[in-house]
Structure formats: structure tokens, C-alpha cells
């Protein structure tokens, strides 16, 4: 009878009693997350309107939008915004352009595929401070690093990585950390691609290239979008890699927004200006988040 009154999808599993229980089970998590989101954010907004320096306690006063004017017109802001965009863009490009062929390769019948997979995924599990220091010293050191030795071996002048191309060096390290993530997601998507579809295309005489362009690539469009969005969220706030390698320098050449805010807050102790910067970072991240939430939300209905 019940099935007649209630179509299959909407069985009244939840009685009033369970609904009450369900709500009370949900409340702690929602409440905590709400506090976690609202309290610090409200404080950031409040601090951003104050002249507030930890070096000069007791001098707090309301100065309106002055901190924003200061932060946004500071040449350091434009430099760090540019560095942030270059960093995010380059790492995205590197991880996806290398991730696609790598995923395609791992999708082939490879002898010892599981072992190769393990090697490819490994960098993702290395803590950021370790990856950054190992690259900086063991590989990129201008005299004793492995790259310097390789360069000399083929008759080139070794590159002084963190002095000559500091931002590119950071990009390389971060891309190495995120390449496994992109590869793994693309590989997971490839493995769900219908084998028969590919075989049918091959039977019809489609070349490998056109199979890739007309069948594989459209299938990868969604996972690629997901990779872009999720990586962007994490890459916007790359911090540890810069902290242990360059400290934002030389000059401002590797200072991104996250590092700039850190420097203003915990090195210059300028709470007001750092808070204004923090809000700018929140706005930038929200623009990205907007698109990601939409994609995930669409998936939730399916």
C-alpha cells in the first residue's frame, strides 16, 4: 500500500521522531562550522577597519576603509597578485598538460602498472616542507645540486635557480606536488570510459588521434574542470613552499597574496592592513568557489 501512495523515491523513511533525531544529530556539526566561519571572518572585517599594530598596543582607532586603500595601492599588492596568478596559472597548465598524457599512458596495458601508479602518486603524500627543502637543496642547489651536475655534464652553465628564476623554481616544486593529483583524477575518469565506445570507433577506422579528440577528450572535460577548480583553491594559498625556500624574495619576486598577508601580520605586526588583505583573499577565493559549488551541486542531483 505504502508503495502506492508514495512513489519509490519518496518513501517516508523519516517519521517525525527520526526527523527530530536527525536534526539534533546534525546540529553540532552545523553549529561548529557556523562559528568557525562567522567568528574569525567577522573579526577580520572588524580589524580591517582599525588602525591596529601589535607593536603599538592601545593605539587602535577606527579608520574606515583606509587599510583597504593602503593594501590595494601598495605596489607589493599588485606584485603579489601577479605572482599569485602566474603561480596558479602555470601550475594548472603544467599539471594538466602533463597529467593527460600520463593518465593516458597509465590507462594502457602496462606491465607492473600498480607499481608505476605508486611511484606517480607518491609526491602527493610528501609534506610540503619536505618537498620544498629537498628540491631546494638536493636538486636545485647552484653548486652541489643534482641539476647543476647534470647541466655541467652536458656542457651548460648551471642555473642558480632561486636567484635567477625564483618564481619558476617555486612553480616547479608545486607542480611536482600536484601532478599526481591531476593524473590520478584523470586516470580514474579514463577508467570509467566505456571500452566498447572506443573499440567501436577503432572498428570504424578512426585513428588514435581522432578517437582521442572526439571521444576521450570530451569525456575528460568534467574531470579537468574539477581538477582546475580544486587545484585553484589550494594553489591560491600556497604558503609552506615559499616560507621554507625563498621567504618571498628576492625582493617581492616570489611573494604571493598569502605570503604577503602573513608577512604583514606576523612580521610587521600590522593587524589592520593584514586583515584587509585577508578579506581580499577571501573575495578572490569565493569567485572560484562559486563555480566549484555549482558543479558539485549539479552532481548531487544526478
Amino acid at each position: 500500500m505504502a508503495a502506492f501512495f508514495f512513489p519509490a523515491e519518496e518513501k517516508p523513511v523519516a517519521t517525525r521522531q527520526t526527523q527530530f533525531l536527525a536534526r539534533s544529530l546534525l546540529t553540532p556539526a552545523v553549529g561548529l562550522l557556523f562559528i568557525w566561519m562567522i567568528v574569525p571572518l567577522a573579526l577580520t572585517i572588524y580589524f580591517s577597519t582599525l588602525h591596529y599594530s601589535l607593536l603599538d598596543p592601545g593605539s587602535e582607532e577606527f579608520i574606515g576603509l583606509e587599510n583597504f586603500r593602503y593594501f590595494l595601492t601598495d605596489p607589493a599588492f599588485l606584485a603579489s597578485l601577479q605572482n599569485t596568478l602566474v603561480l596558479v596559472g602555470s601550475v594548472l597548465a603544467l599539471t594538466i598538460l602533463l597529467g593527460i598524457p600520463l593518465a593516458l599512458l597509465l590507462d594502457q596495458p602496462v606491465i607492473g602498472r600498480n607499481f608505476v601508479r605508486l611511484m606517480v602518486i607518491a609526491p602527493f603524500f610528501v609534506m610540503p616542507t619536505v618537498s620544498a627543502l629537498v628540491w631546494k637543496n638536493l636538486l636545485m642547489h647552484p653548486v652541489s645540486g643534482l641539476f647543476a651536475w647534470l647541466a655541467k655534464l652536458v656542457g651548460l652553465t648551471p642555473v642558480d635557480w632561486f636567484n635567477d628564476v625564483p618564481l619558476f623554481s617555486v612553480i616547479l616544486i608545486v607542480a611536482w606536488q600536484w601532478l599526481p593529483f591531476a593524473t590520478l583524477i584523470l586516470l580514474t575518469a579514463l577508467q570509467s570510459l566505456d571500452e566498447e565506445q572506443k573499440e567501436a570507433a577503432e572498428m570504424d577506422g578512426a585513428s588514435a588521434v581522432s578517437t582521442f579528440i572526439y571521444i576521450t577528450l570530451p569525456h575528460l572535460a568534467r574531470p579537468i574542470t574539477v581538477v582546475i577548480l580544486i587545484e585553484t583553491i589550494f594553489l591560491l594559498t600556497v604558503f609552506a613552499e615559499i616560507y621554507v625556500t625563498t621567504g618571498g624574495g628576492p625582493g617581492l619576486s616570489t611573494t604571493n597574496i598569502a605570503f604577503l598577508i602573513y608577512a604583514q601580520a606576523l612580521i610587521q605586526f600590522d593587524v589592520g592592513s593584514a586583515s584587509a588583505g585577508g578579506l581580499v583573499a577571501v573575495v578572490i577565493a569565493n569567485i572560484v568557489a562559486f563555480f566549484l559549488v555549482r558543479i558539485v551541486g549539479r552532481n548531487l542531483e544526478a
Binding site: A14, Q19, L21, L25, P28, A29, V30, L32, L33, W36, M37, L41, T44, F47, L105, Q108, P109, V110, G112, R113, F115, V116, R117, M119, V120, P123, F125, V126, M127, P128, V130, L133, V134, W135, N137, L138, L139, S144, W176, L184, T188, P223, T237, F239, Y243, V244, T245, I257, A258, I261, Y262, A265, L266, G278, V282, I284, N286, A289, V296, L300
Partner: protein, 276 residues
């Protein structure tokens, strides 16, 4: 003819994949090798690849130079503590959303996801000041708390996607048989949810172990987990490559093993179920 092509393809793709894989893994391998060299050899040009005097002195030196086990213990407490607390809060919430969804469930889920997108640096200042005021700077409890809240949305999401896959018919059957909600939870749901719980636990241990924004900013020495401890090697006076490598190898080994076990769940967890 077709067979030949296939065999050729296997050979070519095998060589290609192993080459790529080796290149990507190489920095880690190189670090592990350096950890068994003497400081002089680790620094030497031309570098020695396998034929050097293997030594384990660096591993002993790491413990002597600075109390390595203390920091490893901090990592275990902070990563383990924050994960367990997050699970305890998340299990009821995910259970409720998966089995008694309301019209607002989807909005709540997406809202939770959006809290994860808040860049930590946006709230660095207030969190730092709150920690300072309450004496939580460089304390383990403070880091447990922050990492727990930071990862809570991911934990809830992962559990939700796993719980949703448990067939509801089973619950109804149990209810028909007169099972109370408590019994239902213990005897029916829990056994079916254990694989999902295990992978959620694993992924979040990994994320918390490697977290390097809050740990670097909120801990200095006493509560410093391995991320902060390793960062101390970045100062010029700490330029000991072999010891750095030994400390790093110890710091990443356990998580590498856990990570290799959980690679499938990793995709699911980190994409919030958007790619399975």
C-alpha cells in the same frame, strides 16, 4: 597482425610509463639515498648514486640534534586527535543527512563545502590573536582544534557519499523486524559503513599530517609537529643535507604507506564525490 601490434603497444607503453614514473618518483628516491650518505658525500660533486659508504649515522643524529620523537609524537597527537574528533562530530551529521534528508540537506552540504573554500590566510589574523589571548600559541590542543574544524567539511562530505550508498531497503527491513534506531545503528549500519569510515579516517590522517599552514604559523617548538620541525632545516645554519634527508624520510614514510593504501578513496574524497 593485431596481436603483434598489441605486444608492441604493451612494450612501448610499459617503457614510457616506467620512465615517467621513475622521473616523478626520483626526488623522493634521491632523498632516501642521501639519508644514508655521510654529510660530505651528500654534498659531493659528482654525486654517487649507489656506490657510497652506506651509513645510518644520520638517523641517530636526527634524534640527538633535536628531539625527533617529540615532534613525531606531536604529529601523531595532532593528526590523530583532530581526525578522531572530526569523525565523532561528522558521523551523526552525515548519518542524519544521508538517511533522513530534508529539503534543506543539499543546501547544508553545499554550505559546508563552501566553508572549506575559505582561504586560511583570510582568517589568520583573528585566529592568531585569539590563540595569543587564550595562550594557545604553540599548544597541541589548539592545533588539534584548528585542524579538526578545517577538515570537518571534507569528513562530513566523504561520510555522506559513503552512507548514501548503503541501501535503504536494509534499514526498512530492520525496522520492520522491530529494530530500534539504536540497534539499527549498531547492528546494521555500522558494519556496512566501516569501509567508508576507514577510508575517511585514512585520508584525513594524511591531510592533517601534511597540513603546513596552521602548523607553521601557530607552533614554534613545544607543539611543533614534523612539518614545522622540518622547516627548521631551512635556516642556513641547518644546512645538513644528509640529516635533513634522514629526518624527511622518517617524516614521510608512514604517510606514504597509508597513502598508497588509500589512493582510490583519495580521488573521491578530494573531489567531494564529483569524480568517482
Amino acid at each position: 597482425m593485431a596481436r603483434m601490434a598489441t605486444r608492441q603497444r604493451v612494450v612501448i607503453s610499459t617503457i614510457g610509463a616506467w620512465l615517467f614514473g621513475f622521473l616523478i618518483f626520483f626526488p623522493i628516491l634521491w632523498m632516501v639515498l642521501a639519508s644514508f650518505k655521510t654529510e660530505l658525500e651528500a654534498f659531493a660533486i659528482p654525486p654517487s648514486f649507489l656506490f657510497f659508504q652506506w651509513t645510518t649515522e644520520n638517523y641517530a643524529a636526527v634524534q640527538e640534534r633535536s628531539d625527533y620523537f617529540h615532534h613525531a609524537m606531536n604529529s601523531i597527537i595532532i593528526a590523530g586527535g583532530s581526525t578522531i574528533i572530526a569523525l565523532l562530530i561528522a558521523i551523526p551529521a552525515a548519518w542524519s543527512m544521508a538517511f533522513a534528508p530534508t529539503k534543506r540537506t543539499k543546501d547544508i552540504l553545499l554550505w559546508m563545502l563552501s566553508t572549506k573554500m575559505m582561504p586560511p590566510v583570510g582568517v589568520l589574523v583573528p585566529i592568531y590573536l585569539i590563540f595569543k589571548t587564550f595562550g594557545l600559541l604553540d599548544s597541541r590542543i589548539g592545533l588539534v582544534f584548528i585542524l579538526c574544524l578545517g577538515n570537518l567539511p571534507i569528513v562530513i562530505w566523504m561520510l555522506f557519499t559513503y552512507f548514501k550508498e548503503i541501501p535503504r531497503d536494509i534499514l526498512e527491513a530492520a525496522r520492520m523486524d522491530g529494530a530500534t534506531i539504536g540497534r539499527e545503528l549498531v547492528y546494521v549500519l555500522t558494519p556496512m559503513a566501516i569501509p567508508g569510515l576507514a577510508s575517511t579516517l585514512l585520508l584525513n590522517l594524511i591531510l592533517a599530517w601534511n597540513e603546513a599552514f596552521w602548523t607553521l604559523n601557530l607552533s614554534t617548538s613545544y607543539a611543533a609537529p614534523l612539518t614545522t620541525f622540518i622547516a627548521s632545516y631551512s635556516s642556513p645554519e641547518g644546512l645538513f643535507w644528509a640529516k635533513l634527508s634522514a629526518a624527511s624520510t622518517l617524516a614521510i614514510a608512514p604517510i606514504l604507506v597509508l597513502g598508497w593504501f588509500s589512493q582510490k578513496q583519495l580521488v573521491r574524497g578530494l573531489t567531494f564525490g564529483a569524480v568517482k
